[in-house]
Amino acid sequence: MASESISVTTSDDQTIQLSRKHAQMSQTINSMLEDSVGADQEAIPLPNVSSEVLKKVIDWCTHHENDPAPVEKVKKLNKKREYKAKNSTISDEWDKNFVNAELRVIVDILLAANYLDVKGLFELMCKHIANELKGKTPDQIRERFGIQDDLTEEDKAAMRKAWGATKNDS
């Protein structure tokens, strides 16, 4: 068996050690390791992830290292359940704390999770951002995410009309 810890190099040229178990939670690193059996002596370059973000990812992995693998879970579900509406509730208390961070950090973690292909973390971040959007008016969203309003009044009127009476925001 190969070494129990893997070292990776982040975008800011820091080498970080992480355990094999954690590394394998990332499909990206996992496939790199599989492709290079016996060649794990070199640090794996992760040019898209900063050390700050990677530390966060490792934090999350440490907390969730004993979770059942998400792939198996999906297989068990029968087809009908997959059709159930998506639920963005974050049930884990630790996760709730974890996402309680600055938006910039959240987006960076989301991108890192996407790049590293850490499924659970990716879902968590998506859910968190979705929750941020929920129940907010367009104005509130623009303010929260710092977005310029480039829609014309006609566009807005058209969209408001399209959805009709089912919504009541301004």
């Binding site: 898209n48 009908k80 509406a85 129940g135 008016t137 995410f145």
Partner: protein, 708 residues
């Protein structure tokens, strides 16, 4: 590919440097350089042509100002488009629409067809054929096969199909159910209704029995078609009831017979009327609603004398009927062509229940034995015989209450609800028994199949349970309480649920106390509950709920409010403002045994805000009138959790002022949606104003405690 060797290396790895070289592989950062994209948003737009294409009206060469860069940097929708749409897929429809109004980029992301298609398929709503018809004609013959909602047959990439609009259409229809927005009216029919159904979304077909002229005469039935959309909502909409109002009649047909059975095929728009010696097929015209005779089948044409048709069953594109000599014939529904004839050894008296599904016809014989015939491969003998109680342990005559065949992933399964409380299952192909569904604590009565693979079963314990189809369906059904146990114990009655039906995530159950309850099966929330005296049956579709109450037909109209009436929310709120009654206060109590204002009247207010569990409050009303009933702030009561997918910002009137108890009565005289739930009107009765359900309780007969 390690283009850039790491500058720092852990020393312990240095000795392994001679190990075989890694095979060339594409660095994951090359195809999508995420980091760069975020830092330089201009690149992001150019690198993702899919975003670019979506940006209707915004071309890539619109220069971004340097000052904007900082702002755009924070716009997380500059994420790769699949990540962004994954985030958006967690949003509810109203949130998604709101997000679409943020900016051009967000708009294009939020109006993505695949997002809405996913939403629609997750919602498990049926494909709305009526909608398709009015939008795209060429999609009409595409019907996704039964439950799977297989959208593969559609081409969603073609711009002709707007999933968002279809979702919106269905959503706005359903919102009125979830938020209990409706108008109600009723009308009287001169006979006893025997069959009611809704065709093509708006034509109500109603058959009623006018009785026989004399003891030896045959009975006279009338079949009438009403256009439910012909009743228009008046402009003064501050009251839910439209009073006596009858929809326009389109066509009438008289049938004279002694032995009659009605079957409706909503999908095809056909009614089958089985008389003694003939089966008639009548078509309801899709546009005009007129009844057009299609074909007639006479028993004499088969060269037999002195026999009658008995026990007809319809499923899909074929129908089957036994004759008194035990022959089972199958016909094609559309044309009336005879497809098959099976000679059975069954006697007329032994047929207690006949059902059909696909090619199978199942017959319940002697409450234990179920014979299943294969009507396609036409064998004389039963294809299969099942014994609900193979060991003959059960002594009673009434073991099997209801049988049902349902398909699970192309496997046909026979269900039998048993007096022992369990539901037996058999695989029809192999004939093997499957694990039973065990959860009911009292005899199971009715059993129906619902959306996709769900099975609903009702039991004398006063509950309806929803079983998910598939492999692990024997475990953990969802339970819907129709009748509360304490009520059943008190009255010593069995909780008989006389009728159930399910469509589009809604489950309706009728109890023999005259109560109609309707649930949202995705969340388990009670949408509403109404009580009628002498309730016979009720049906519902996307827009209407029709209840047959004695000789009265009560229609609840859930159509969206016309735009000129203002927002539906306003009208809902105005239900609560009790305006002075137009008629003078009643002299006598409408509730027998409860004299007006002499005994304390307790009003339980069951406030059921949309999509939240029913909450009950007890408020005492002083007999000295002038009492303000405080309701808790509706905002706080609404289930705001994310598990509630239909949650929308709601604000409701928070208090109702009742100055005179009879004021409410007078108002309710018009509302008509009241009735005793127990068949003993002196105990209490239920009434409903808008979202509020009032229960007037006679203090002496008050069950304690009403709420736990």
């Amino acid at each position: 590919m390690r283009s850039k060797p790491p500058s720092k290396r852990h020393s312990s790895y240095a000795i392994d440097l001679e190990a075989p070289k890694k095979k060339e592989r594409v660095s994951p950062r090359n195809p999508i350089n995420l980091l760069d994209d975020v830092t330089h948003p201009v690149n992001a737009v150019i690198k993702y042509p899919s975003i670019l294409n979506n940006l209707r009206g915004v071309s890539a060469d619109v220069p971004l100002h340097i000052e904007d860069m900082v702002v755009v940097r924070k716009d997380f929708m500059q994420l790769p488009v699949e990540v962004a749409s994954h985030v958006l897929s967690y949003l509810t429809a109203p949130d998604l629409c709101r997000s679409g109004r943020v900016s051009q980029l967000w708009r294009s992301l939020c109006e993505d067809q695949s997002l809405w298609k996913d939403k629609y398929s997750r919602s498990k709503w049926k494909i709305d054929n009526h909608y398709l018809q009015t939008t795209i004609n060429h999609l009409l013959d595409l019907r996704p096969d039964d439950d799977t909602l297989d959208f593969a047959c559609y081409d969603p990439s073609s711009n002709q199909f707007d999933w968002k609009d279809m979702y919106r259409h269905k959503y706005s229809q359903m919102q009125n159910w979830y938020h209990n927005r409706y108008r109600e009216y009723s009308f009287h029919v001169p006979g006893r209704p025997v069959h009611v159904n809704i065709f093509h979304g708006k034509f109500m077909i109603l058959a009623y029995d006018l009785g026989a002229a004399g003891p030896t005469e045959r009975r006279v039935f009338k079949l009438k078609i009403y256009d439910l959309t012909s009743v228009t909502w008046p402009s003064h909409t501050n009251i839910a009831s439209l009073g006596e109002r009858s929809p326009s009649k389109i066509s009438t047909r008289t049938v004279v017979s002694s032995l009659i059975e009605w079957k409706s095929l909503e999908e095809e728009g056909l009614v089958l009327v089985k008389e003694d010696e003939t089966i008639r097929c009548l078509a309801v015209d899709e546009n005009s609603g007129c009844l057009v005779p299609r074909y007639e089948i006479g028993v004499r044409s088969y060269g037999v004398e002195g026999v009658h048709f008995v026990k007809m069953c319809v499923e899909g594109n074929r129908f089957h009927c036994f004759t008194t000599d035990g022959v089972l014939r199958s016909w094609e529904v559309k044309t009336g062509h005879l497809l098959n004839e099976i000679t059975t050894d069954l006697h007329l008296w032994s047929l207690s229940q006949v059902i059909a599904h696909g090619k199978w016809v199942a017959v319940l014989i002697c409450n234990n034995k179920i014979a299943v015939y294969n009507t396609v491969d036409g064998v004389s003998h039963p294809a299969r015989v099942f014994f609900a109680d193979p060991d003959q342990k059960y002594e009673s005559q009434h073991l099997v209450h209801k049988i049902l065949i349902s398909s699970h992933q192309r496997e046909d399964v026979l269900y039998a609800s048993l007096h022992t409380g369990s539901i037996s299952r058999f695989d029809l192909q192999s004939g093997n028994p499957l694990p039973s569904l065990v959860d009911h604590v009292a005899p199971t009565r009715d059993i129906i199949s619902g959306d996709s693979r769900d099975i609903f079963s009702s039991s004398e314990d006063g509950t309806v349970k929803m079983w998910e189809g598939g492999e692990d369906s024997t475990k953990n059904p969802s339970t819907f309480i129709v009748l509360h146990q304490h009520l059943l114990n008190k009255t010593n009655q069995k909780g008989q649920i006389v009728h159930m039906s399910a469509a589009d995530h809604r489950l309706m159950a009728l109890s023999h106390f005259g109560k109609i309850k309707l649930w949202d099966t995705t969340t388990g929330n009670l949408l509403f509950s109404i009580g009628y005296r002498n309730l016979t049956t009720a049906i519902f579709n996307d827009l209407f709920l029709v209840a047959v109450v004695g000789q009265e037909i009560v229609v609840r109209d859930f159509r969206p409010v016309p735009e000129n009436l203002g927002s539906p929310r306003r009208t809902t709120t105005s239900h609560f403002s009790l305006s002075p009654p137009t008629s003078p206060p009643l002299e006598t109590s409408p509730v027998p045994g409860m004299s007006p204002l002499s005994t304390p009247v307790v009003i339980d207010i069951v406030y059921s805000p949309p999509m939240s569990p029913v909450r009950e409050h007890i408020i005492d009303v002083d007999k000295e009138h002038e009492k303000v009933i405080e309701l808790e702030d509706a905002e706080d009561k609404i289930d705001r959790s994310e598990t509630n997918p239909y949650y929308a910002n709601q604000s409701h009137c928070a208090s109702v002022e009742v100055t005179e108890i009879w004021l409410a009565f007078s108002l309710l005289q018009g509302v008509r949606s009241w009735g005793s739930t127990k068949g003993r009107p002196e105990d209490y009765f239920d009434l409903q104003i808008g979202l509020f359900q009032l229960r007037l309780v006679n203090e002496d007969a008050r069950p304690r405690p009403i709420v736990g």
